[in-house]
């Protein structure tokens, strides 16, 4: 009887301790946005943060097909948008690979133990994306070109 | 007629486990090779943008067509009611599934992204012969397993004929499909002919039967089961017929190509000045895989000895691999003719290949992956006959077909 009781107490202690540690971890979870990234200076992601945490891949995948088959680029949910906003920078201002250890994508994916394939092929730092932005505006034919938003794209 | 009794393979444990260990070793090495190629990328193989399918495909296609050919023995018994072939049917079905699994494994492990196999299984483009083949292959495995069930289970016996007939038709479709993978490629001179489909069908007859006979001889030898001379004669005559048919279709294939003047260059390449590919064609495909086995099979003395018939079977298998090498790799090495009447004197950067024969030398990982597939097929067969009743107790003539032995007596 006493043994059962002491086991129960132990169990209770353990669960409280675990609960606490879970809470401590929980606070850490939100901190994957890199302070040096553009995202840190923005109030919100393209959708509410909580929604993005759970559903970002659905959005990216949907946009992926829009881009590949429909040629719609530079849209709200494009992967290149994710990278350019969430990429961190070192003290020299050099972008850090977004899938590198401790950076935005991988730190959460490591924590959640979810495999990530995007960067097998996609650029991990904004690189040469300028075509969608500034250079395109210069190059575009004066007539018939869609009005392009001038932006401060990297490079 | 005597009831046919099937027994598990009763080879001594040391021999059985030794065989299994050896095959497991071959498979492990093949698996490691696949992992290595996967990790490094295909640059470690001999494959390039010119020769895009290499040695793994030689093995994979060979195993897949041999799989459908191995089922023939069962079909002859069930579909064409040749009683003498009935005892051979179970092993035939097992071997068909085993060879198919081995071949498909090699094919899948050579993909650029084998991790996306699920994509291949869920996203189909029905204008692709390749997509159809995915159905043909998986359907074949399912049907043959069902076919085996009708043979083994008394309750299913009455279904044996319809299921067996369906399996037979399906295997014809399968090999036609495999041949069509190559036959419908308009951009390459050596392919682009519908005769590749029937050529592949007769090749499957020959290679499947040759492998079947080798496995049968080995398994029966190992635990001392008898094979009667009439049975031996029946099998070797069948093999002779199939090998002759392969040679005939090979002849027609080249005649078709030779008749059109535009194909004279590819024919000269394959038949006269293609170096290794020409040698493999004449020595491998025609001589080793065709004429020598025929010589043995129709030799009045040699064709009564099991060892010589086994040798003929082994030569057919070797010739088959050579034929696959010529069909798959030789045809890719030959330059695609885009500019008739012109010579290509420069094609991109210096190592980039166009307008001349593309170099290809198989790398070890490719070869080991291919052999791994063979290992898988043999392992499945070995385990299958050991744990289940696939092998008839005896193929002695009086047990198989009493009328036949009565005639001989």
């Amino acid at each position: 009887m006493a043994e059962v009781l002491s086991k129960g107490v132990l169990l209770a202690f353990l669960s409280v301790a675990l609960g606490l540690s879970a809470m401590a971890k929980a606070e850490g979870v939100g901190d994957f946005v890199q302070p040096s990234s553009k995202a840190a200076s923005v109030e919100n992601c393209v959708e509410p943060t909580e929604y993005m945490r759970r559903n970002h891949f659905e959005l990216i995948r949907h946009q992926r097909d829009e881009t590949v088959y429909g040629g719609i680029r530079g849209a709200k949910h494009s992967l290149s948008g994710c990278v350019s906003c969430h990429v961190g920078y070192d003290s020299q201002g050099t972008p850090l690979e977004i899938d590198a250890e401790g950076q935005f994508c991988s730190s959460c994916h490591d924590y959640a133990a979810v495999e990530m394939n995007c960067f097998d092929c996609h650029a991990t730092v904004p690189k040469g994306e300028a075509w969608n932005h500034e250079v395109a505006a210069v190059h575009a034919h004066p007539t018939g070109a869609a009005p392009l938003a001038a932006t401060s794209a990297e490079r | 007629m005597k009831r046919i009794v099937y027994r598990e393979w009763l080879v001594e444990p040391q021999r059985y486990w030794g065989l299994l260990a050896m095959l497991a070793g071959v498979i492990a090495v093949g698996g490691l090779s696949a992992l290595y190629m996967e990790h490094e990328g295909h640059w470690v193989t001999g494959m390039t943008n010119s020769v895009v399918w290499g040695t793994p495909h030689v093995f994979a296609v060979f195993l897949i067509i041999a799989a459908s050919g191995a089922l023939n023995v069962a079909s002859i018994g069930t579909v064409f009611d040749k009683t003498a072939y009935k005892p051979l049917a179970r092993l035939s079905g097992l071997l068909a599934v085993a060879l198919l699994v081995g071949g498909l494994l090699v094919l899948v492990l050579d993909l650029g992204r084998p991790d996306r196999l699920l994509v291949a299984m869920t996203t189909y483009n029905f204008s692709s012969i390749f997509a159809w083949n995915i159905f043909l292959y998986s359907g074949f495995a399912a049907i043959v397993i069902g076919y085996l069930w009708t043979m083994a289970e008394r309750k299913g016996n009455h279904l044996q004929k319809p299921v067996g007939t369906f399996a037979f038709l399906w295997r014809l479709a399968l090999t036609t499909g495999t041949g069509s993978i190559f036959g419908f490629l308009v951009g390459r001179e050596a392919y682009d002919t519908a005769i590749l489909a029937p050529l592949f069908v007769v090749m499957s007859f020959a290679y499947g039967l040759a492998i079947y006979m080798l496995v049968l001889f080995y398994a029966f030898d190992a635990d001392g089961r008898p094979i009667g001379p009439a049975m031996l004669k029946r099998l070797k005559n069948l093999l002779g017929l199939f090998v002759a048919a392969v040679l005939y279709f090979t002849l027609v294939y080249h005649l078709t190509k030779l008749y059109g003047a535009k194909n004279s260059d590819i024919e000269a390449f394959l038949l006269i000045n293609g170096g290794l590919y020409t040698a493999l064609f004449w020595v491998g495909w025609v001589l080793i895989g065709g004429l020598i086995p025929l010589g043995i099979i129709y030799h009045p003395e040699l064709n009564k000895q099991r060892d010589w018939i086994a040798t003929a079977s082994a030569l057919v298998v070797a010739g088959g691999l050579a034929a696959m090498y010529v069909i798959i790799i030789g045809s890719q090495a030959y330059p695609q003719e885009m500019f008739p009447g012109h010579s290509v004197i420069q094609f991109g950067a210096p190592g980039d290949v166009g307008g001349r024969v593309a170099p290809y030398s198989p790398s070890f990982p490719e070869l080991l992956l291919g052999l791994g597939g063979v290992g898988v097929a043999l392992l499945i067969t070995a385990v299958g006959i050991r744990v289940l009743q696939f092998l008839p107790e005896s193929l002695a003539d009086r047990d198989v077909d009493p009328h036949a032995s009565a005639r001989h007596a």
Binding site: A26, D120, A146, L148 | G41, L111, F130, A131, R188, H342
Partner: protein
């Protein structure tokens, strides 16, 4: 144990959700001006079958020894970022690296006349590569551009077997350096996409044609095959031209004059 932590977990989620909601509400007025989406480029219009993009190559203007189009393509599509794997043979590597456009030099067997031309994906109306692809990864966009959806490409290379123009490349090695506009990864097949990223942003041009003009050769005219008054149709009307392997009836989007 799991039961114990579950409510905590749920509580955490609710808390975070509420917090996010509160934050959103608090900053809602300012958020409109401050979300990422206002900073990104406007989404582009999308592909339509009102256009069919194509090229005319005037081989008489294509200069011997000039590789401007090839170099421009390499730059534009990040092909120059590929690196030869350590230990790979130099010549073999040239046959393994991705190449979207190559200079081809021909000699007439009868007259000995030499012709230069760039060869790339011909953007067929009836592309064999699309027919054979088991997963449908090889596809033709509404505007006629033939390309590979590398998200569903399994790397079987059947399209490379089927292509009559040797236009496609398989990525044989690990790729470390890539451009945002030109993703690239080991184990997939790719080929010329007529600089789709330019077209999608409303820039009616390709790197190769631009480079050829910049060199002063004007051997490449890019444009819309469906626009009777456009530069491409005008150029096609002026010069007799044909398709490579016209016998196959693929109705290519790339046409050649002078072969």
């Amino acid at each position: 144990m799991k039961n114990e932590s579950e409510p905590t977990n749920q509580g955490r989620r609710d808390f975070l959700g509420a917090a996010a909601g509160l934050t959103a509400a608090a900053v809602a007025p300012g958020m409109m001006l401050h979300t990422v989406d206002s900073e990104a480029a406007a989404p582009t219009g999308g592909v339509s079958d009102a256009h069919r993009w194509g090229l005319l190559v005037d081989t008489s203007k294509c200069a011997d020894g000039c590789t401007a189009c090839v170099d421009a393509c390499d730059q534009e599509n990040g092909l120059n970022l590929q690196s030869q794997p350590l230990g790979d043979d130099e010549l073999k590597w040239q046959n393994q690296r991705a190449t979207w456009i190559r200079k081809v030099k021909l000699q007439d067997n009868l007259t000995g006349q030499v012709t230069n031309l760039p060869l790339m994906c011909q953007h067929c109306e009836h592309p064999p590569c699309v027919d054979v692809c088991p997963t449908g990864a090889s596809f033709k966009r509404a505007d006629g551009i033939v390309m590979v959806d590398r998200h569903t490409c399994i790397g079987c290379r059947y399209c490379m077997m089927a292509c009559p123009y040797k236009a496609r490349s398989f990525i044989h090695e690990q790729v470390d350096q890539k451009l945002t506009r030109a993703p690239r990864g080991k184990g997939c097949v790719e080929s010329c996409n007529l600089c789709a990223h330019r077209l999608d942003t409303g820039d009616i041009s390709t790197a190769c044609a631009d480079a050829c003009s910049a060199e002063g050769h004007q051997a490449l005219v890019f444009g819309d095959l469906k626009d009777p008054t456009g530069p491409l149709r005008q150029a096609l009307a002026k010069k007799p031209n044909r398709q490579i392997r016209q016998d196959l009836g693929l109705n290519t989007g790339v046409r050649y004059a002078g072969i």
